[in-house]
């Protein structure tokens, strides 16, 4: 039985840690450097803007560019994907006492009704909504849209946002993080500089905040380099979603469990779907599956296509048209997989990158906003006159403040629920219910997680059952990649580290798992090789969970999501 972890990628995180190499004149020096313009990074930038407004001397201490945000996507929101039902709590705290009301945030309004259904192949049975999944007071949004609005707020507060800029290396001198080096642009397929070659630059900062989101590249590097990994490995789920223009409005938020996922313990298929209204004329539908699944032929992309053929779902989409598509991983390890510490000298970890996601509640945006806000405050605290963020423990107030918030308590309560589902849906559901009823006291202790890449593969020939794409209701992967707006140039260097000489089973796992048709198994005289079409990649991060490693591609490449 093959385990993906037996074929580790040619990747060493030391390659991505370096001292600054540009001369001091050539470096870009900023006050606080934030990597990633998602909800965590932008909340951090907004909070820094507020603190500078309250205390103008702070801006002076931070220098000419007090706050900079690097974003690898073409623009803010280009790489952001979520459901999204947003808990407004994080925003309420971020904008408390400020001139912004929650109603000003771009949204599709509050959740009005919600239902959970259990599906089998022919029927949908309504089941009670689990307490963790209740959405009273939450609102519906597109995270991509919402973040573009947050970016405007951050810029108004004095932050400089640099899109099309990937953060490739962590700049470290001694034990201090002093910034990042951005990725080169304009290299050819084999790394050679082309006529439009632009080398990366050292961006140095007093404090570097990593807000890279799921599968953060430098976050992974920092966890290794500073020994910050928690007791348990992080695990992930892969979510694939579509946005549909629909003929009739959907009046409720819907979640489904069961079909097309299999409940049996040997499959370990944990997940479910979401169907949310986006105003009166759009609906988003997505399927999320834990990457600890075993069947090498599971394809979340194709399972979503299959889900849409269910009578119950088809009714909602009837007469509609697919107008958006996206894929992204979600960190699911929760409390037990959080880093040991959320800081190192000069460095702070926030949001999804650090693993702040509440799986039973299907939420993490408010945690991203909260941790981003607290990171800003900790950075400023460490920059008070006479202090320096580079001494050990100087940023420890961040860990303390995160532990004092609802973020920590929420996650602690539900800490064992995700792991329970390794036992299949029935037993897992029972254990999860126990955890809810006892506010997390049962089961006691911390249940360990197992790395997704350590799961042994099986091959029960599932893929024959996926529906053939008809171009109307069901689609092939390449059409989906096209709809993601991805037009990465074909001669860019390959940013995916993966072994290509692997057993057929593992190649097949990647081929089926990848929602963007990046991997293809080739048979040549009994030898299996994996062909990689890196320009299709939408940077969802699944390969990093299952035996490969993404590195940052050229800034500005990848998908260009707008509605997700």
């Amino acid at each position: 039985m093959t385990r993906p972890a037996e074929y580790p990628p040619p990747f060493d995180s030391r390659e991505f840690v370096a001292a600054p190499s540009d001369s001091p004149d050539e470096r870009i020096d900023v006050g606080v450097l934030i990597v990633g313009a998602g909800p965590a990074g932008l909340a951090c930038a907004i909070r820094l803007g507020q603190l500078m407004e309250d205390d103008p001397s702070l801006a002076e201490r931070l220098g000419e560019v007090p706050v900079a945000v690097l974003e690898k996507g073409k623009g803010v929101g280009s790489h952001l994907v979520s459901g999204a039902v947003v808990n407004p709590r994080g925003f309420r705290r971020l904008f408390r006492g400020r001139d912004v009301r929650i109603e000003d945030i771009p949204s599709f309004g509050p959740v009005q009704h919600e239902s959970v259904y259990f599906l089998n192949s022919s029927a949908a049975t309504r089941v009670p909504t689990p307490p963790t999944m209740k959405n009273d007071g939450n609102f519906l949004a597109s995270l991509s849209q919402l973040s573009r609005w947050l970016a405007e707020q951050a810029e108004a507060g004095g932050a400089m946002i640099l899109p099309e800029t990937s953060a490739e290396r962590l700049l470290v001198t001694g034990a201090r993080t002093v910034g990042v080096r951005t990725g080169d642009k304009g290299r050819g397929r084999s790394g050679e500089p082309m006529p439009n070659f632009e080398p990366g630059v050292d961006v140095t900062a007093k404090v570097t905040v990593l807000a890279e989101g799921t599968q953060g590249h430098l976050t992974g590097v920092a966890l290794d380099h500073f020994g910050l990994r928690g007791d348990n490995p992080q695990v992930w789920a892969l979510g694939v979603k579509e946005v549909w223009k629909v003929a009739k409005p959907l009046d409720r938020v819907i979640h489904t469990l069961g079909w097309p996922l299999r409940g049996g313990r040997k499959y370990r298929e944990f997940g479910g779907s979401f169907i949310y209204p986006m105003g009166d004329d759009m609906v988003t539908i997505g399927l999320v599956v834990g990457l600890d699944y075993r069947d090498a032929e599971v394809s979340v992309h194709d399972l979503l296509q299959e889900l849409k053929t269910h009578r119950f779902v088809r009714k909602i989409l009837d007469g509609g048209e697919r107008i958006g598509w996206a894929a992204k991983t979600i960190p699911e390890g929760g409390f037990v997989a959080l880093p040991r510490r959320l800081h190192a000298p000069g460095l702070l970890l926030t949001g999804d990158a650090a693993g702040f996601v509440n799986v039973p509640a299907l939420k993490g945006i408010h945690y991203a906003v909260e941790t981003g806000r607290l990171a800003a405050e900790a950075a400023v605290e460490a920059l008070r006159p006479g202090r320096t963020p580079w001494t050990p423990g100087a940023l420890a107030s961040y860990d303390r403040s995160v532990r004092d918030t609802y973020v920590w308590n929420d996650l602690k309560r539900v800490r064992n629920m995700r792991q329970a589902f390794a036992n299949g849906l029935v037993l897992g559901g029972a254990m999860a219910s126990g955890a809810i009823a006892t506010f997390g006291k049962f089961p006691p202790g911390n249940r360990p997680t197992e790395p997704d890449a350590e799961v042994e593969l099986i091959r029960p020939k599932r893929s024959a059952k996926y529906p053939a794409p008809d171009g109307k209701l069901t689609f092939d992967k390449l059409s989906s990649v096209y709809l993601s707006g991805n037009k990465t140039r074909d001669d860019a260097p390959n940013h995916i580290r993966v072994r290509t000489d692997v057993p057929e089973e593992l190649g097949l796992l990647w081929e089926r798992m990848c929602p963007a048709q990046v991997y293809e198994v080739k048979e040549d005289g009994g030898e299996t090789t994996v062909e990689v079409t890196a320009s299709n990649c939408v940077q969802c991060g699944a390969i990093t969970a299952k035996g490969g490693r993404l590195t940052p591609p050229e800034g500005g490449s990848g998908p260009e999501y707008t509605l997700t």
Partner: protein, 319 residues
């Protein structure tokens, strides 16, 4: 309406896409003039009359010999300001896009690009522009004059109407900064037959060919038809054929009269580069290939049998 059309030329010939735009301008009506910029190009100007230009302006200067944009911006800025054209049209090319954007900045004029049609609507000029991956067309207008427009190459066919143009020379004062760039070297990709952008016939090969050496079948058919050879991203990626021939989202956009797709599944990434072709013929052994949903003629079968026979038939007919 007074319209000026930028007439691009190469190796002593006016380029077809420029003449196509000229024909379209003539069809829309009003006073239509062309402009030819270069060195030793006066003879070319007269030829534009046959495609609908009443007048052709010529700036003939050594500074305009090389295909650099800024000296051309100087020339056009002067001509447009002096003659008061209310529309300036370009057929898109690397040079034309550069010149159009430079002119837009110089004159503070609005530029609409990637247009696939121009219409007169209630007395104003409206452009059609594909958006969202060519899935919808939006109407674009201009809020001021002159109106600058870049038309997607191959959109309009040149129509010979047999008129004659009055040729008028004009002088250009070049700005110092316009002469700062010099051309060091020009290289041409070696290829036989027409390039895929101007070919009337394209025979394209995809992964269904099975092996790089099978491109020979495609080349032979293209040669028999006097057309060019194109390729899909998959085969270019695998190194079977050069990138210059890649058609699709991340390659070239073409619209020949006839497009023969051999062993091409028709993924959307390829489709967007060739869907505006006149007649699309698909040869593929997979009856479920998406290309059969948008081709005009489809043949389900083994291209190793079909393509050589087709080549043979074409040769017989021709001889």
């Amino acid at each position: 309406m007074t319209t000026l059309v930028f007439l691009e030329h190469h190796e002593g010939e006016l380029l077809k896409p420029s003449l196509g735009v000229l024909s379209k301008a003539a069809e829309l009506g009003g006073d239509v003039a062309g402009v030819v910029l270069g060195s030793g190009v006066r003879d070319l100007a007269a030829k534009a009359g046959a495609y609908g230009a009443a007048k052709v302006y010529v700036a003939d200067a050594p500074e305009l010999e090389q295909p650099l944009s800024q000296p051309r911006v100087d020339a056009l800025a002067k001509l447009v300001s002096e003659q008061g054209f209310d529309s300036v049209l370009f057929a898109a090319s690397v040079l034309a896009a550069d010149v159009a954007s430079g002119l837009s900045a110089r004159l503070g004029a609005g530029l609409n690009w990637d247009l696939t049609d121009l219409v007169q609507q209630d007395g104003s000029l409206i452009g059609k522009r594909p958006a969202l991956g060519d899935s919808v067309y939006v109407d674009v207008g201009w809020s001021s004059e002159p109106r600058l427009a870049l038309i997607r190459a191959g959109t309009f066919d040149p129509k010979e109407t047999g008129g004659e143009a009055q040729v008028e020379d004009f002088d250009v004062q070049f700005e110092d900064f316009s002469l700062a760039a010099t051309m060091l070297e020009q290289a041409h990709a070696e290829s036989e037959g027409p390039s895929i952008e101007d070919a009337d016939v394209i025979v394209a090969g995809g992964r269904g060919l099975g092996a790089p050496e099978n491109f020979k079948l495609v080349e032979e058919l293209a040669q028999a038809l006097g057309g060019a050879v194109a390729a899909t991203r998959a085969v270019v990626d695998s190194g079977w054929y050069p990138y210059a021939t890649q058609v699709g989202q991340t390659g070239k956009t073409v619209s020949p009269k006839l497009y023969i797709a051999c062993g091409i599944s028709g993924a959307i990434q390829h489709k967007v580069g060739m869907q505006s072709s006149g007649v699309i013929v698909a040869i593929n052994k997979d009856p479920n290939a998406p290309i059969f949903e948008f081709c005009d003629f489809g043949v389900v079968g083994d291209l190793n049998d079909i393509v050589p026979k087709l080549t043979e038939l074409v040769r017989q007919r021709k001889s």
